[in-house]
Symmetry: C2
Subunit: 222 residues, 2 copies
DNA sequence: GATAAACCTTAAAAAAACTATGGTTTCATT
DNA sequence: AATGAAACCATAGTTTTTTTAAGGTTTATC
């Protein structure tokens, strides 16, 4: 009789209770599943750090957005994921995110390379169970919407460098072209050139920025 | 009571019988599943073409390697996949391949963007059923080993252009550096530069080509 | 130990990317 | 319709990167 230790970190107390309820009822070979929870960046961090010198968690579920109490600058789960990877590399990490935002997914897949990624609207008892099992037996597990995003990225052949991505990202969040210089370490002129170049890559020559970011979104870059 | 039409194309008669046997026994809402089969590039092509003007297949399972009878030059399923996409874009395509060869997977994901990809050693009744259901409800479906390969690609940040990829690929199949000029449209000198550059990207400076292609394989590029 | 391939260095040439400048178009607001 | 702001475009000079050729050194193989 093995025990499978799970840590779930989410700042919504209620949803976390839901996770705990579901997870602990999973029947999986002859494992006993124990779910520990934390509802802030800080407490999650502490639990991970403490685990280093005691029982390591088998799986850590991690919300991408964690609002620490009394602050409004969100600590993101990505940092916590990186920390966990470093401290307890043997723990499997599954990210949970409320949006299937490609930009975020891509960034997390690169910086943390988690063993699983679930878009919150995909989460239900069945997918949670699948995730736990897949991740312990043969990672990775990606939920349906996450897979959709990944598919888009894999099926395109366009390769962008960091500056391109930054330009696309900032355009997509409404940054004006003239203000882009503050975010991209390039001259205004180069930025314009790159925008032109991007538009030709995405087949939106002579169209406006909206067309560009729409195309980039469709191909999974934003 | 709907009917779900499936075409399975594989040059091994026996395995195809296996697929048919399993697939037709899947219970899926109130669908009747009908499996049609073809065991060569030619017959598969014909069935797909014929389907254009009659009942389209809902799903086409497609073996990546198809040896046509009496020839030894394998027609690959990739071409057939491209054809199917063109003729019957509404049919879902699931590729099956015996190796989890990243180069092939990447190439197929780009050129055909199939709705599913299964590595043959992952195929069993359960995964087949999952594939059918996932692909009809919310594609894509990737089998476990395929996901492993995809994960590698997504988690790395290295981006290579076509020349780099071609160099890596040819090195991996044993092409000698001096013969590379015939495949890469670059001077010998440039090829050496790029090899050096690649080795630094993959952290195999001052090591030999084997180390490079091993590293590239590990990261999912070959 | 002779030979072929791989590897490295250098310097020149070519290509690509960047930048500054000055102008034109587009769009929203009045 | 007039105006101002932002977006867009074209040109040309500059910088950076990539390619190339030519030469030599190391490594592996028979």
């Amino acid at each position: 009789m093995n025990t499978l230790r799970i840590l779930a970190i989410d700042d919504h107390e209620m949803t976390m209770l839901g996770y705990k309820f579901i997870l602990e009822r999973i029947s999986f070979d002859n494992h006993t599943i124990i779910v520990d929870t934390a509802n802030s960046f800080k407490s999650g961090k502490k639990k991970i750090e403490d685990s280093v010198n005691s029982f390591k968690y088998d799986i850590i579920f991690l919300d991408v957005q964690l609002y620490p109490p009394n602050e409004n600058q969100p600590h993101n789960g990505e940092d916590l994921g990186k920390l966990a990877r470093k401290l307890v590399p043997e723990s499997k990490i599954i990210f949970m995110s409320s949006f299937s935002d490609n930009h975020r997914i891509n960034s997390i897949l690169k910086s943390v390379d988690p063993d699983g990624y679930m878009v919150k609207t995909d989460i239900d008892p069945k997918s949670l169970e699948d995730a736990v099992k897949t991740v312990t037996i043969q990672p990775p597990y990606y939920s349906s919407k996450a897979l959709g995003a990944i598919r888009k990225r894999m099926s395109t052949t366009i390769s962008l460098d960091d500056n391109d991505k930054r330009i696309l990202y900032h355009l997509s969040i409404g940054t004006k072209t003239k203000d882009l210089e503050q975010h991209v370490e390039l001259s205004a002129s180069s930025i314009e050139n790159r925008k032109r170049h991007l538009k030709s890559l995405f087949g939106t020559e002579k169209e406006n920025d909206l067309a560009l970011i729409l195309a980039a979104k469709n191909r999974g870059f934003i």
